[in-house]
């Protein structure tokens, strides 16, 4: 799994398209797509999950922070299982970094921000590669032996 983060409007999507090509299945929270959990619906070998911070926000509307993290991690574990089942499969997860502003006034936004930060830590720990995108340039902050791209 390749986790890609960075600030908003820094060219994350363009970087992923430039490096992985335009084929593959894109699930984008920005386009209003839901995070599907049934891997039988995915026919390509490349799955890109974009805008995960919005799916995390949805979770915070009905769950406390502990459950959000648990539920999110179980989704991700399922997709990691899917990725590992075939050699050519690749899971790419894109999340905007929303964690460096001032503390939000509203309780629900503080919860969302906390959950996002934890989810990104968990993703980075599981990923074989992590990149930060800064105005179109990537900085690889983690790469293990099995990192494909």
């Amino acid at each position: 799994m390749h986790f890609i983060t960075g600030g908003a409007f820094n060219g994350k999507r363009a970087w992923v398209k430039g490096n992985y090509g335009i084929s593959g299945t894109w699930l984008s929270a920005y386009q209003g797509h839901h995070l599907i959990t049934d891997s039988n619906q995915i026919e390509s070998n490349l799955l890109i999950l974009e805008g995960i911070e919005l799916w995390l926000k949805d979770l915070t509307k009905s769950q406390d922070s502990y459950n959000c993290r648990e539920i999110w991690n179980s989704f991700m574990n399922d997709w990691l299982f899917w990725e590992k089942a075939e050699f050519n499969r690749r899971l790419v997860v894109i999340g905007t970094d929303t964690t460096k502003g001032i503390v939000p006034m509203e309780k629900e936004n503080r919860l969302w921000r906390d959950v996002t930060g934890w989810a990104y830590q968990d993703l980075a720990a599981k990923a074989d590669r992590v990149d930060i995108i800064w105005y179109g340039l990537n900085q690889t902050i983690k790469k293990t032996g099995d990192g494909k791209l």
Binding site: G7, A8, F9, N10, G11, E53, D97, T98, T99, K100, G101, I102, P104, N109, W112, R113, W134, Y135, G136, L137, Q139
Partner: protein, 189 residues
């Protein structure tokens, strides 16, 4: 004639990005000669802003190097005529320039207007670069908190992000300044 060097620098508020930009301009002048120019984009809209401008002016004037100040708060491309290939130019900063372009007219922020604003800034910067020796452009990082969709901040961040992406692409060197420490993101220093 080959285009001059473009150096892009960003950082957070009070990160030391302006000091770093001035430092590399002065260093460049010392090594290669050339006139230092400061393209002032700020409009003193309130006393605090005026104070900041005066502080920056004093900082530049108290140094050993001689800076020439040129004021151009909008359509910066028009200032290109003042420069020649011996000039080292500092623009600080892009967000001020963007504010001046966005808020000077009572214009609705539709896609057409925003595209026009971006075009004005990017072509303006390229025009100046084409005439000068070195152009150093400073901007501000503002992209690290959650943004509600379809409000003013969203459109503002989106256009600034596009401008930064274009500038990093065009730049020979790019730096991110964190707590006074410049991180070389592109090109060799």
């Amino acid at each position: 004639m080959a285009a001059a060097s473009l150096i892009f620098i960003t950082g957070g508020v009070r990160s030391g990005k302006s000091s770093f930009a001035e430092k590399i301009a002065v260093e460049y002048a010392k090594e290669n000669g050339g006139q230092l120019n400061y393209l002032a984009t700020g409009v003193a809209s309130d006393p605090e802003m005026r104070e900041r401008i005066v502080k920056h002016q004093n900082d530049r004037e108290s140094g050993k190097s001689r800076w020439r100040t040129i004021e151009q708060s909008q359509t910066i491309g028009e200032s290109a005529a003042y420069f020649n290939k011996e000039d080292i130019i500092l623009i600080d900063c892009v967000t001020t320039l963007l504010n001046n372009e966005l808020f000077s007219y009572n214009q609705e922020w539709d896609d057409c207007f925003l595209a026009h604003v971006m075009e004005t800034i990017i072509t303006g910067i390229n025009k100046i670069r084409d005439r000068a020796k070195v152009l150093i452009v400073v901007s501000n990082e503002v992209f690290y908190e959650s943004i509600a969709e379809n409000n003013l901040v969203f459109f503002y961040s989106r256009i600034l992000g596009k401008i930064h992406q274009q500038l990093v692409k065009d730049a020979n060197q790019a730096f991110l300044v964190e707590a006074g420490i410049p991180i070389n993101m592109k090109g060799v220093r």
